[in-house]
C-alpha cells in the first residue's frame, strides 16, 4: 500500500488510479483541502510541520490497520507538509473495495486516525499577518490516567 509524507504537491487522480481492481465495485477518493477560514478568522495559508520519519511509519501502521479491519488493502494515502496555499490538498486517501461499505469505513478510519495520532502540526497564517499553531489532540499511548496537562 502506498503511503507517503512529503512536501510534493498531491496528485489525487494519480492516487486514485493506484487503487481499484476487477473485484472492486466501489472506490473513494477523499481530499483534505486548505480552506480560507478557521473559527471565523480569515486564513491566507497554512504551514504543515512533521516528525517525518515517524509519520511515515505511523501512516503505514494506520493503512495496515485499515486493511486488516476493513477487508481491503486497495488503499493509498499521502500527507503533504510545508507551506500550503488556500485550495491545496493537504491529505488524500484513496480506497477501493468490492462493496461500498468497506470503502466508506476505511476512508473514515484512516482520516480519523491521522487526526488522532500522526505527528503532524499545522500553523495558520491569518490575513492580518499573524499566525498560530492549531491546537490539537494528545496522541494515545503518551499519558497515564492521572495525566491532566498536555
Amino acid at each position: 500500500m502506498h503511503c507517503h509524507v512529503g512536501p510534493e504537491e498531491i496528485d489525487s487522480a494519480a492516487l486514485l488510479s493506484r487503487v481499484g481492481s476487477d473485484e472492486d465495485g466501489a472506490a473513494i477518493l477523499f481530499t483534505g483541502v486548505v480552506r480560507n477560514h478557521a473559527d471565523g478568522r480569515p486564513v491566507s495559508g497554512m504551514r504543515y510541520d512533521s516528525y517525518v520519519e515517524m509519520s511515515q511509519r505511523e501512516l503505514r501502521s494506520i493503512a495496515a490497520e485499515a486493511a486488516e479491519r476493513l477487508g481491503t488493502d486497495r488503499l493509498a494515502v499521502e500527507h503533504r507538509i510545508g507551506e500550503l496555499q488556500i485550495g491545496d490538498i493537504s491529505v488524500a486517501i484513496a480506497v477501493s473495495s468490492p462493496h461500498r461499505a468497506e470503502s466508506f469505513d476505511a476512508t473514515r478510519y484512516v482520516i480519523e486516525e491521522i487526526k488522532k495520532r500522526l505527528p503532524v502540526w499545522k500553523k495558520e497564517h491569518y490575513e492580518d499577518g499573524t499566525n498560530a499553531w492549531v491546537s490539537g489532540t494528545r496522541p494515545p499511548g503518551t499519558s497515564t490516567p492521572s495525566t491532566t496537562s498536555s
Binding site: D49, M54, S90, S149
Partner: protein
C-alpha cells in the same frame, strides 16, 4: 588523576517540533541523564533549567525512537526522544 567513571550517565537526543520548538528556541538538544532515567526525569531535568525550557508543559507527550511513550518509560543511551505537541494533522 581520577579514574573516569563509566556507565553512570546516559546521553539522549531530544528533538522539538512546532510549538515546542518555538518555545525552547531549538530543534535538537543532547541531554545527559542518570542511568535508569525515565521520560519524566528528562522532562524534569529540562524544565529545571529554567527559561526557555520551563515553558514546556509538566507532562508533554513524547515519542522514544519514534514510538509514543509513557512518562515512566526508561531511556537508554542514544535514544531519540521527541517532544510531541498536541497533533493536528490532516
Amino acid at each position: 588523576m581520577a579514574t573516569p567513571q563509566r556507565n553512570v550517565s546516559i546521553s539522549v537526543n531530544t528533538i522539538f517540533f512546532a510549538l515546542y520548538r518555538d518555545l525552547v528556541g531549538t530543534s535538537t538538544l543532547e541531554v545527559e541523564l542518570h542511568q535508569g532515567a525515565t521520560v519524566a526525569d528528562l522532562v524534569e531535568e529540562l524544565r529545571g533549567r529554567g527559561a526557555p525550557f520551563d515553558s514546556l508543559p509538566t507532562e508533554p507527550a513524547t515519542a522514544v525512537n519514534q514510538t509514543y511513550a509513557m512518562p515512566d518509560q526508561r531511556l537508554g543511551s542514544g535514544d531519540e526522544v521527541a517532544f510531541i505537541p498536541p497533533v493536528a494533522g490532516g
